[in-house]
Amino acid sequence: MSKRIEVNDLNVYYGDFLAVEGVNINIEPRTVTAFIGPSGCGKSTFLRTLNRMHEVIPGAYVKGEVMIDGNDLYGPGVDPVLVRRQVGMVFQRANPFPTMSIRDNVLAGVRLNNKRLSKSDGDDLVEKSLKGANLWEEVKDRLNLPGSGLSGGQQQRLCIARAIAVSPDVLLMDEPCSALDPISTLAIEDLIEELKQEYTIVIVTHNMQQASRVSDKTAFFNIAGTGKPGKLIEFDETTTIFSNPTVQATEDYVSGRFG
């Protein structure tokens, strides 16, 4: 199910402002790739271009190519809705739908796409997705209660369950643990390790220990100064980035000398 992502010469603009410049990257299927870098360097912006979520922001557009298994996301006639069904996303703040129960939250992606779902199929999907997100044991007795009643870590795992319920090929995570305590963070990191078997995962994180714990490859983004575009500085095996990076800026960042 998981797919390869190929990005060629991608520039991201907000109106006239060039936010991210000249990104070339190849992300292999069934791997975890971490994006690290200082705030404002365009990691999240670039992540959003991988499922066209940047288009939600008025005036944002890209130039360049993003290929998912050879299909260009930005080719003429591409429907962003179809793109997002293949490339799921988990956000920094857990955002379960407040009007829906836990069960309905998990089924939201399928239901809102106007697919008919029998009761038993729905039950199976809910159980499978919640088990996939390591949440089943905690919520199986209260599936009909509102999702916003869960703890922060549980809500974030609910959002992951919701994202994998539509069975995407790629899962993007934008700082999924930044609002969580260490125990919930550990639960999500374990989950990422398991999800890797089936999905291509890209995760943005500010926590370098987290990047070194969960990811196979790491990409370091940096920005030369305010008003300048963010750039991909280095992309390599995680162990190489953290022990023996080729660029000085990367070494400064991962060793804590700046940023």
């Binding site: 979520m53 069904r85 996303m89 703040r93 955002n95 739908f97 939201a108 106007n114 509102p146 959002c159």
Partner: protein
């Protein structure tokens, strides 16, 4: 073990705590209030008593006295706090006074004329062939029906237009787009339209279409929707903007189309606020008199057809009962008060429904 008890470590005297300061007794505000009411009563009894003067003077004495006392015993900060707290409370009571006074007057004057017959029967004159006397029976049924029909049609027109406009403004229009700015500007202007202008507009519009004497309930509904649409647009727009962007993004990220996101995520999340806003808009226009008076005129006859002929409504009934009384002036006035009370009751019922609906639809959860 020796039987001696170790001497108490606590010093017998008071220790000076550097964090304490002077404090007035706990219920000083109530004592002060009673005191200033009494003092003001005494002063006014010497000069001639009246209730309003008594309360105003008491409030002034209370604020000044409490300020002086508190700054003497306590400190400046606490004195300011107590005075400002008093001022805010007085402002609140002042705002409440006309409301309560109006309610009491309406209930006191209207309660006498409200009975089952008044609510369920239409006004009619009865000619008694034996005594050759004409007696008028007063009823408000035609006005209740008229009010409900006219307001109902106005709501049917305004609510869809209003909600769709606010969806356009919040979900579809770019914030700086000329179309969005024009719509917002026009809505703002429409909010300020005097209701009599809306009535003139509807009346002249239907005069052009139907010809002279174009009184009808429907044209009154048009006048009311001119007043109602901007209120609905405004309140729904606010409510839709309150829906966090996170939820829309979460929905888009699941591959849900924009239309489904709006109908199944955004609207259900905001529905409680939207219902409240719509109900307030209805309550606002249900009491309009001038535009209905112009467009639907008034009548004592029962007319449930909004497309033909004059139609009576409760506010117009209250107005005409006072302004153009029948032969029995007292009965006309009483029916005016009865109509006013019925209108208030109707608005209260609508508000209660709005609250219940808002509660039922509100997103559940412990947040």
């Amino acid at each position: 073990m020796s039987a001696t008890i170790s001497p108490s470590r606590q010093p017998s005297g008071r220790i000076a705590n550097s964090l304490t300061s002077g404090q007035l007794p706990r219920f000083i505000e109530w004592y002060m209030l009673a005191g200033s009411l009494a003092l003001s009563a005494v002063i006014l009894l010497l000069m001639g008593f009246n209730v309003a003067g008594w309360l105003v003077l008491a409030a002034v004495i209370y604020l000044i006295g409490l300020g002086i006392l508190s700054s003497a015993v306590e400190n400046r900060r606490k004195a300011t706090d107590r005075v400002v707290r008093g001022l805010v409370t007085v402002a609140f009571l002042l705002a409440l006074a006309p409301l309560i006074s109006t309610l009491i007057t309406v209930v006191a004057n209207g309660i006498g004329s409200i009975n089952w017959d008044f609510v369920t029967q239409t006004s009619q004159s009865v000619f008694d062939p034996d005594t050759l006397e004409v007696t008028t029976k007063v009823g408000a049924w035609q006005a209740i029906v008229g009010t409900l029909i006219i307001t109902g049609i106005a709501a049917l027109i305004s609510i869809p237009i209003g909600i769709l406009t606010s969806i356009y403004l919040v979900e579809y229009a770019q914030p700086k787009h000329w179309m969005a700015r024009t719509v917002t500007f026009l809505v703002d202007v429409m909010t300020g339209i005097p209701s009599i202008v809306a009535g003139l507009f509807a009346f002249s519009l239907f005069s052009l279409i139907v010809g002279p004497k174009a009184f009808s309930g429907f044209s009154a509904s048009i006048a009311l929707s001119v007043l109602m649409i901007p209120i609905v647009v405004r309140s729904c727009e606010e409510m839709l903007r309150l829906v966090p962007m996170d939820l829309r993004e979460a929905s888009y990220a699941l591959g849900v189309s924009k239309f489904s996101t709006i109908t199944k995520i955004v609207l259900p999340t905001a529905i409680a606020g939207i219902v409240t806003g719509v109900m307030l808009a209805i309550a606002r226009v249900i009491g309009e008199t001038a535009p209905i008076f112009m467009a639907a005129s008034f009548t004592d006859n029962f007319n449930a057809n909004p497309f033909d002929g004059p139609m009576q409504t409760l506010p117009v009934m209250a107005y005409t009962g006072y302004k153009f009384p029948g032969q029995d002036i007292a009965a006309s006035n009483a029916s005016a008060w009865g109509a006013a009370l019925l209108l208030v009751i109707l608005v209260v019922i609508l508000n209660l429904i709005a609250r219940v609906v808002a509660k039922v639809f509100a997103p559940k959860g412990s947040r």
